[in-house]
Amino acid sequence: MLEIKHLTKIYPDGTIALRDVSFTVEEGEFLIIIGLSGSGKSTLLRCINRLIEPTEGQILWDGMDITAADAVQLRHIRRQIGMIFQQFNLVKRATVMTNVLSGRLGYVNPWASLLHRFPPADREMARRALERVGLADQAHKRADELSGGQQQRVGIARALMQQPRMVLADEPVASLDPVLAHSILGDLERLNQEEGITVLCSLHYLDLVQRYATRVIGLRDGRIVYRGTGDDIRNMTDAEFKEIYGEEAVRVSVGPHAKEETR
């Protein structure tokens, strides 16, 4: 479904954020990318829908090269890929409803949408999406009146509006407490399992990874240093752990619900 070949990203200031990254994502996977902050997770996810222009390499979406897509093609690809963010990235002063509806922007008539006119079908769809994430009664509140977990659910609803085949999630739970983290990831897991939406998610904590991932990629300094399944994480060796998180990292505990800490 998605094939990334020799992807390299060098920022204008010379930072090499990704070095020759290659992997494929199959339909229906829950692929989790782990790595320290600064390892290039966000850059990688943003290269996929070209929020960031890759420097080199190819990204094939159903065999079509995203990096070579023109503006119209890119729009069509982007609307099939939902995205949720660590900081939720909602338009804070807009209502929850408007935020959710904006997920349809890739589909609706661009001119009508400028006047905030959306087809009734889309509004109905937005109501259903909000119902799904349990926020049906919050539709007319301003986005910044909601709690963090609720805001992230609005983000998921917005992504759902795209009727996506894949969802990119950039540390979706890093700003939330552990209980909420499980509930948000649970939402993503349900989308993955019930609707067959492919999920590409970056995460920080390993115990979450074991619980949700079907496959894991470890990034360090822009390079892939680990490939495995969710089960492999459980049995990860110290060597592998240090490969991802560096020599100074300490595994606080080991076990089915191990928590890692990095310094």
């Binding site: 729009r75 963010f85 990235n89 922007l105 400028l114």
Partner: protein, 502 residues
Amino acid sequence: MTTTTQRTTAGVSAPTAGLASLFVPGLGQMLIRQTRRGLLILGSLVSALGLLAWRVHLIAHRTAGVWPAFEKALRRQPVFVGLVTIGIIILWLWASRDAYRQASTGQPGGMGIFVLIVAIFFVLGWQIGEIDLYKAVTELPDAWPPLSKVLWPWGAAFVRETEEIGASAPILVPCDDNPPAPPEEVAGQPYVMAEPTCGELSSLDENNQIIPGSRLTLTGRGFAPHTETQIWWADPLGNEFRHRQGGEYVTVETDDEGRFQVELILPYRLVPPSAAGRQIWHVEARQVSAVGDLKPSEALTLSVGRMVETIFLGMMATVFGIVLSIPVSFLAARNLMSGSRLTLLIYYLTRTVLNIIRSIEPMIWAIIAVIVVGLGPFAGIVALTIHSIAALGKLYSEAIEGIDPGPIEAIQATGATRLQTIVFAVVPQMIPPFVSFSIYRWDINVRMSTVIGLVGGGGIGFILIQYIRLLDYRAAGIAVWFIAITVAVLDYISAEIRRRFV
């Protein structure tokens, strides 16, 4: 932790540093790597000396030579010249001691030397600013009458319709056998009668001393009671002038029944030789009396009208400023313009132009605008618009620079077009600062438009400056009050709107 209190490592001994600063103040400090301190001392000393030389030159007006000029200046303004001279000498010596001590102990120099520098410049500033507290106090009583009129001008806000009544009597100059008869009295009309009805005008002798003319008694009746009455003359050609006695205008007040009596000396007038012979002059008594109801004075109606003009002037300038500054602000927003070298160049250019325009006061723009479009409110609108574009352009562009890129990213990721991204992610973030800055600017513009008229830019300032020039302090006071009221009300409204919107 590293601090600047480390021992200096420069290879200069303490006496060398001290001596260096004795020859060139600050040089010693520079040698021991206190370059900025040294430059500051040197700069202050040189500029203080320069300023002192300049003021001495002005005080000792046209005295040749340095020492004679200095002595003369010291005699004329001993406190100023003496204090600054002593200050400079102390500073010079202090600089040397400072360099010596720092070099020998390695301790950083204190702040005392800068206190001295500030003190020297304060004394210089006092003299250059021609500060005269004594004058400010002693001349206050003289300033009080006009000031009080400005502070409470409302006596002139309403006036009554006035009516002028008067009556005249003929006077023959010079006397002959046939003096004119007193005028006929008509019942119900004011009436004056002179006694006698002829006489000699005042004249000048060869030493330009006035020889008083004949005396006559002017009796009047049928005037308004208890009202000031002016005495006027009309020469045979009909030229009118007010009667003076001893240099003062003569005014009499009528009694209970509207009567008066006054002694007059015939006035002095140059009479051309061709006019020799029998001449009929007229003496006249005039009263101005108020009739009818109170009505708003011209000053009041003008002020109201001009105030409305002022508010609209400020409003139009704000509207034009907002509309025009929006595109400009995009060009001045770094995050939008950092794409390529060309756009970055446009960004720097726009920023620079905006900064230059903004640094020129609206009053100066108004003077320029008056030259281009002529006197009147339009000139004011042009001036304030120009300044608003620059000020708002900067504020808006900073607001654009400050927007959160997160939502933009999120909207882009949905497959939205550029325009959709702007409408859904940028505009909602822009509205609060936009409203806030715009209202703030409206507030400033109305405030500015009250004074832009001083230089011909229309609005209430235009009549205010005229009233001041005509010494009509009451009318000026009314204008000032209107300005104050409007500005205060506006202040309140704009604060209120900003509070609600943002």
